[in-house]
């Protein structure tokens, strides 16, 4: 049995639509993921995250290279891979004509659970995902958010060692999202490996033990949050609250050539790359002739790192 949950070598996926130029959605990726961690795949739209996940979950075959899940090749041993994974695909997927409960029981049947176990686990999962009251309603009568809940909840029924989640939190409210995040943490404690993609960088920052950032099918950066922060040394985030929003502040912020900035009521947030000594000068410039109530200077967040890496890539 392989010590890695995932092993990817020179993986390529080319889509060649009729009459259009070929697209290299995944372009020579190589990486491995140890067992029992939460591994995040980040990247802008079209970076190749979902295509990579589709290959790893045996939904589509690679054009070149190889990928193994728990040592099983995704092409040659696809069924063995499927026996060891559960996945939430990006699109909402549910049995619309079946009740919520029957959705769970059907899923459990596919994963070989005994009926009593399936019923017990379904009840627990429905409770966690606040679906108990909807148990007998057909999924076609539920809202989009509830359908997504049913879809995500299902993967907690089976105890497959690897879990793939493609933007699982889409359509979830903040409270449920928190609950699911702690559930995912608990699953890794049991030894499950979780591979997830997300557009919500704060979620990845909080959840992922290891992160791979992709752009245009290629690896841009890889590592845990601290490693990624080292890649972005010199990026600072400043939050300043004024007694009232100063006039012309937006122009002043733009003049600093920030990685990003935002203005919310009396508070501004700005991220920029600069020498450490220059940061205080910048804060002083922004504070000049203005009454500052609160100042906070932080190191780069994952979002800053992500923006900087993407901008750097574009510049190249």
């Amino acid at each position: 049995m392989s010590e890695f949950a995932l092993e990817v070598e020179k993986l390529v996926k080319v889509y060649a639509p009729r009459g259009k130029p070929a697209i290299r959605a995944v372009d020579g990726l190589s990486f491995s993921v140890p067992r029992g961690i939460i591994f995040g795949l980040l990247g802008p739209n079209g970076a190749g995250k979902s295509t990579l996940l589709r290959m790893l979950t045996t939904l589509t075959q690679p054009s070149e290279g190889s990928a193994r899940v728990l040592g099983f090749d995704v092409v040659r041993k696809a069924l063995e891979v499927r026996r060891r994974i559960a996945s939430v695909i990006q699109e909402t997927a549910a049995e619309l004509f079946l009740s919520v409960r029957d959705n769970f029981l059907t899923y459990a049947k596919f994963h070989g659970l005994e009926r009593t176990t399936a019923l017990r686990r379904s009840a627990a999962v429905m409770e966690t995902f606040q679906l108990t009251e909807e148990a007998d309603r057909k999924v076609q009568d539920l809202s989009g958010g509830f359908r997504r809940r049913v879809q995500v909840a299902k993967v907690f029924l089976a105890e497959t060692p690897v879990l793939f989640l493609d933007e699982y939190s889409t359509g979830m409210d903040a409270i449920l999202k928190r609950q699911v995040m702690s559930l995912l943490r608990a699953e890794t404690q049991k030894g499950r490996t979780i591979i997830l993609t997300t557009q919500v960088l704060s979620e990845a920052e909080e959840l992922c033990d290891d992160i791979l950032i992709l752009n245009k099918g290629k690896q841009v950066a890889r590592g845990d949050l601290n490693t990624l922060k080292l890649l972005s040394q010199g990026v600072y985030e400043v939050a300043m609250t004024f007694d009232r929003l100063p006039e012309g502040i937006a122009a002043d912020l733009q003049a600093l050539v920030p990685l990003r900035y935002s203005v919310d009521q009396n508070t501004i947030e700005i991220a920029f790359k600069a020498e450490e000594a220059r940061v205080l000068e910048m804060v002083s410039e922004l504070a000049r002739n203005r009454r500052v109530v609160h100042v906070e200077v932080r190191g780069a967040s994952l979002e800053d790192i992500f923006v900087e890496l993407m901008q750097g890539r574009e510049a190249q």
Binding site: A93, E95, F97, L98, D102, T106
Partner: protein
């Protein structure tokens, strides 16, 4: 086996939510016979009247073949529903092989086709006093099972290769016209022009109907029918291989 059972369970659960549809599936061949069979028999008579076979008896196999063809087409259409619901792609990541997925999907519908044939035969005997050969019933039901599966695999190739259901609907309409009318479903082939007869003899639904006709009322040349049955099994096998191939290449 558990994977097949799971797909069977899923299909039966979904179909059980629409009892009207199941009822129609079970009884529509009989309705067809009551309307079309009785109408033609009364208005035009039977091409085999001299041999003591009325049109209802002749048409019995045709109506069973049509039902088998219809169930297969409806089942393959469910790929579009599954795609729209997103569940199609999720299911492809479940612990089952592509062939188990296809076989499981058709299994419940084969069961419906077999029940449908049994009901149609029984009520045809009671209502029309048709000379049913009960001793050949297992072989007739086998013909229904293999026929339904074969046509489902054939249709699945097109359903899996087509992205738009309006295109698929156009394909099935053409198939209904071509396969059903250029066959021995409604009329015997002997009086037909040579080109028409040739086309009908090369049509897999003729092979299936000839088998069903022999096994239901004993009409036909057994040697030819045996060859046709072998050809149909070959057709069903090729269609199964084609459908699995298409399923493996879903992106």
């Amino acid at each position: 086996m558990s994977a097949l059972g799971a797909v069977f369970y899923r299909e039966s659960k979904i179909r059980a939510t629409n009892v009207t549809f199941i009822f129609w599936d079970l009884f529509y061949p009989l309705c067809y016979m009551l309307v079309f069979g009785v109408g033609v028999n009364s208005a035009l008579g039977s091409p085999f009247a001299a041999a003591g076979v009325d049109y209802n008896a002749f048409f019995l196999a045709g109506v069973l073949g049509m039902a088998s063809f219809g169930i297969a087409s409806n089942t393959s259409w469910s790929f579009f529903l599954d795609r729209d619901n997103g569940i199609f792609y999720e299911m492809l990541t479940y612990p089952l092989s592509r062939s188990e997925y296809l076989l499981g999907k058709v299994l419940f519908n084969v069961l419906i086709a077999i029940l449908q044939a049994a009901i149609t035969l029984l009520l045809s005997r009671l209502l029309f006093h048709l000379p049913v050969r009960w001793e050949l019933l297992p072989l007739l039901l086998l013909g229904m099972a293999v026929g339904t599966a074969g046509w489902f695999f054939f249709y699945a190739i097109f359903a899996l290769r087509t992205r738009r259901n309006d295109v698929f609907n156009a394909i099935t309409s053409i198939f209904y016209f071509v396969f059903l009318f250029a066959s021995s479903m409604f009329y015997p082939l002997e009086p037909l022009p040579a080109w028409f007869r040739g086309a009908a003899l090369a049509n897999p639904i003729t092979w299936q109907i000839d088998w069903l006709r022999y096994m239901s009322i004993g009409l036909g040349d057994f040697h030819r029918i045996a060859w046709e049955a072998l050809a149909f099994v070959g057709f069903a096998g090729a269609a199964f291989w084609g459908a699995v191939y298409c399923l493996q290449r879903q992106e």
